[in-house]
């Protein structure tokens, strides 16, 4: 029984007519046409479907659509803007962190969730924040290097100016 779902998607209010039991990943991909969010395992074990729900990284394959009523969702399509890459995206390219690319949207969003609140994470903090994202191609080292690089780029560009974030959870 479809219902109207209203939420903020990548900064813009949207409405979608969906089955309340549909998973958010399917709503994003099939109903709203945003296929940047990937589906890997459908059981919360790979992170390919990661989106930000009110700023926190979550597995959209396990979020019933009804749960996001009134919430703010950021997908990979909302990172960076036309013609201008987000520092995290630039860092992933610079560090060679993309091979097949399937995990990349989820990795970038997990990194964004971390760097939005912690401007200078250590290696263990990066690993903890990215612990829900699997990659079958790269061996993770270059992804980790990209997050370190992105943190530096974001600090240089003043991305945290006025945000009040202190690096504490």
């Amino acid at each position: 029984m479809a219902k109207t779902l209203s939420f903020v998607l990548n900064g813009e209010p949207v409405e979608a007519y969906v089955d309340p039991g549909a998973m958010l990943a399917d709503v994003l991909r099939d109903t709203l046409g945003l296929t940047g969010t990937k589906i890997g395992c459908k059981s919360g074990d790979c992170g390919a479907c990661t989106v930000l729900l009110n700023g926190a990284a979550v597995n959209s394959c396990m979020i019933p659509a009804g749960k996001v009523q009134g919430a703010s969702i950021i997908t990979i399509e909302g990172v960076g803007s036309s013609g201008k890459l987000h520092p995290i995206q630039q860092a992933f390219i610079d560090e060679g962190s993309v091979q097949c690319g399937f995990c990349t949207p989820g990795m970038i969003l997990a990194a964004k969730a971390l760097l939005d609140v912690n401007p200078a994470p250590g290696k263990e903090e990066i690993r903890e924040a990215m612990s829900g994202n699997l990659c079958r191609c790269t061996g993770y080292v270059k992804i980790e290097n990209a997050v370190v690089k992105a943190a530096g780029l974001m600090r240089e560009s003043g991305s945290h100016a006025g945000c009040g974030c202190t690096g504490e959870e």
Partner: protein, 291 residues
């Protein structure tokens, strides 16, 4: 067939919604276990009642000697809570191991308990810490059930999410001279169910053990308290030889099954005493630091 997804404005409102459903409505917390279960997959559930917008269920606070954790508190919140890290470190460490970051951001401790899996990390730590679960039902009744009575079988909770709500988890605050520890054997550092886990709580006074709690899993349908080992420890000196004897007693109460994925019973039986000794030593160090 799921018809509706409703955010309850209060616990009473949630209970009223459950009562209206006559068994077809159920509570959803983070949902990370629920969405993988068949009960909700369209046939048996018509309405999901979400508690996440009830604000006072997201609190962690200390009151009258109890640490109170609301039903909406996520594993991530618990893992990083200064209060839980100080007063119930085993729980913070256990919560930090559940799933991956994305799961921990939305999955709740209450949900972990109600899903009732044999080695649910938070449930194991809560068992050793002597936690009580506050349960409300639509009659208005409220009761506290100890963790040791929260499991009816494998994946069978004492709570029926169609008629009852676990509103708070309460842990007795131990104070000075107390420490706890969580040990986990795992195939990966994240996204991995435990092969073996042990939670330990200890209270010391003058170098002697006053109180002890040891929970181990998966050794049956539920996390199990090593009652004989706990009783043995009382009054003894907190030292390795004593811990080793306690570990041997605990092992005699543990029954493992062999799993091709999660380890043979022989291997897990060999590791269990090592974890208990290490856990007791770590808890002792932490207890000594607070004395």
């Amino acid at each position: 067939m799921l018809h509706e997804y409703i955010f309850a404005s209060s616990i009473d409102a949630a209970l009223a919604l459950l009562a209206q459903g006559k068994g077809k409505n159920r509570i959803i917390a983070g949902g990370t276990d629920l969405v993988l279960q068949k009960e909700w997959a369209g046939k048996e559930t018509e309405v999901l009642v979400d508690l996440s917008k009830i604000s006072n269920l997201s609190e962690i606070h200390e009151e009258n000697g109890w640490l109170s954790i609301g039903a909406n508190v996520t594993h991530n919140q618990a893992a990083f809570s200064p209060l839980i890290r100080e007063k119930a470190r085993a729980l913070a460490d256990a919560c930090s191991k559940v799933g991956g970051k994305q799961v921990r951001n939305i999955a709740t401790l209450a949900g972990n308990v109600v899903t009732a899996l044999p080695a649910a990390d938070a449930a194991v730590a809560l068992t050793a810490l002597g936690a009580l679960c506050r349960i409300r039902d639509s009659s208005g009744a409220s009761r506290d059930l100890p963790m040791t009575e929260m499991y009816r079988g494998v994946a069978q909770s004492a709570i029926d999410s169609r008629t009852q709500i676990l509103t708070h988890i309460r842990i007795p605050v131990c104070g000075a001279g107390c420490g706890s520890s969580y040990m986990r054997m795992e195939q990966r550092k994240a996204l991995s169910l435990p092969m073996l886990c042990v939670a330990v709580r200890i209270k010391l006074e003058g170098g002697a053990i006053q109180e002890a709690g040891i929970a181990m899993a998966p050794v049956g349908p539920a996390p199990k308290r090593a009652g004989e080992a706990e009783a043995f420890l009382i009054g003894k000196k907190a030292e390795r030889a004593v811990f080793q004897e306690a570990a041997a007693l605990a092992c005699s109460q543990a029954s493992f099954r062999s799993s091709a994925v999660r380890g043979s019973k022989e291997f897990r039986h060999a590791v269990l005493p090592v974890f208990i000794v290490r856990g007791l030593e770590e808890a002792t160090q932490r207890a000594a630091a607070t004395a």
